[in-house]
């Protein structure tokens, strides 16, 4: 009896074969826009360190059509990152209180509350 096991090749397009994997790729892609926005923030800090007129120039660029459209895309992906990140927290950090598991929705909910509080603090600090 001859054995000749056949291993099927994984295509480079494996993630396009099923909605579940396409979803996963979009989720991972959120980090590209988070990263690009961090580049923008770093440029901002550099401009801030270079003085008043450099900073004003940076703020003016934020409000340019390119600045607004790029940041709008970043915002959509950043929010999707937050939503998907919070959804996974109960799996990574299961909590037991008095011998009973804390429902996942409570762990996720606590993150949304923290998100709201942090956002409010930053907005108030920025002068809203």
């Amino acid at each position: 009896m001859s054995r000749r096991p056949y291993l099927r090749k994984v295509e480079r397009s494996w993630w396009l074969q099923h909605p579940r994997y396409i979803s996963y790729m979009i989720r991972e892609l959120t980090s590209l826009f988070v990263g690009l926005y961090c580049v923008l923030l770093a440029v901002g800090l550099v401009r801030l360190s270079q003085g008043h007129s450099a900073w004003d120039g940076f703020v003016a660029n934020l409000s340019s059509p390119l600045g607004i459209s790029f940041q709008s895309i970043c915002l959509v992906f950043a929010v999707y990152h937050s939503v998907t990140w919070f959804a996974l927290t109960p799996k990574a950090m299961p909590l037991m209180v008095k011998g009973e598991p804390v429902p996942g929705i409570a762990i996720v909910g606590a993150h949304y509350v923290a998100w709201a509080v942090v956002s409010a603090v930053v907005l108030i600090g920025a002068g809203i």
Binding site: Y6, R8, W15, G99
Partner: protein, 247 residues
């Protein structure tokens, strides 16, 4: 003329075939039949050469895992009525070499499973005369879900990292390591860490989560791996700050 349904089944004969091909069979449609019943009908009445694994026919043995219309499923747990009017494509589980027809080579999994030491390694050896290792229901509750694994390998078929790296220890083995690491009677976390916390262990995982989605026993291996990433990182920090201290 009673209703029929079409199955498109992957065939592979290592003695004669250079590559797999598909063969179509027409089987009777019955409301309460599962894909396994259709395969058994093919074997009994249409083509005795078809090879496939099965046993319990009730989703507890883990033998009959297959790709059904591209989704890893137990063939005994997949009803024909959910595919009525369509062609059902039946293939062996993804990411494993095909032995013959729907039979995969699962030796790599057996090696990976034994490498994580899936047995109790007590903190201290006790002779039987010293009595049982006591465990409360609450302590059992902490790891109970991870005991439910039937080694069906649907999670390996679903996991893209298993497809991209054949050395990845994989969801089921890591979930079973976690089952023992969480067991209050166990003290073997460090012994398992050589494999579990290696690059081919938990660190190959990118939390796709497909494994937990396809698991027929709701083991949630994705959760097991993410929790292990955190505990392995804590142990790594402890080792860094107090060399050899925590072991």
């Amino acid at each position: 003329m009673s209703e029929i349904i079409m199955l498109e089944v992957l065939r592979y004969h290592p003695e004669t075939d250079s590559a797999p091909y598909f063969q179509r069979y027409t089987v009777p449609y019955q409301d309460d039949w599962v894909v396994l019943d259709a395969l058994n009908h093919i074997k009994d009445h249409l083509d005795a050469t078809l090879s496939y694994r099965w046993s319990c026919h009730m989703a507890v043995c883990g033998s009959c895992g297959m790709m059904i219309n591209g989704e890893p499923k137990l063939s005994c747990h997949t009803f024909l009525r959910d595919y009525r009017g369509a062609v059902i494509r039946v293939e062996p589980l993804d990411h494993f070499p095909i032995e013959r027809d729907l039979v995969i080579v699962m030796d790599s999994f057996m090696d990976k499973l034994s490498s994580v030491k899936p047995w109790l390694i007590p903190k201290q050896d006790k002779p039987p005369s010293a009595g049982e290792y006591l465990q409360s229901p609450a302590e059992l509750g902490v790891f109970h879900q991870y005991t439910q694994c039937i080694n069906c390998l649907l999670c390996y078929a679903a996991c893209p990292q298993c497809g991209l790296n054949e050395d990845f220890v994989g969801p089921a083995a890591l979930a079973l390591a976690h089952r023992y690491n969480l067991d209050s009677r166990d003290g073997g976390k460090d012994a398992r860490a050589e494999v579990v916390a290696s690059n081919e262990g938990i660190w190959e995982c990118t939390f796709v989560g497909a494994c937990s989605e396809v698991c027929p026993k709701h083991v949630d291996p994705a959760a097991a791996i993410q929790q292990t990433k955190i505990s392995a990182s804590v142990d790594w920090l402890k080792d860094l700050l107090t060399p050899g201290g925590h072991r």
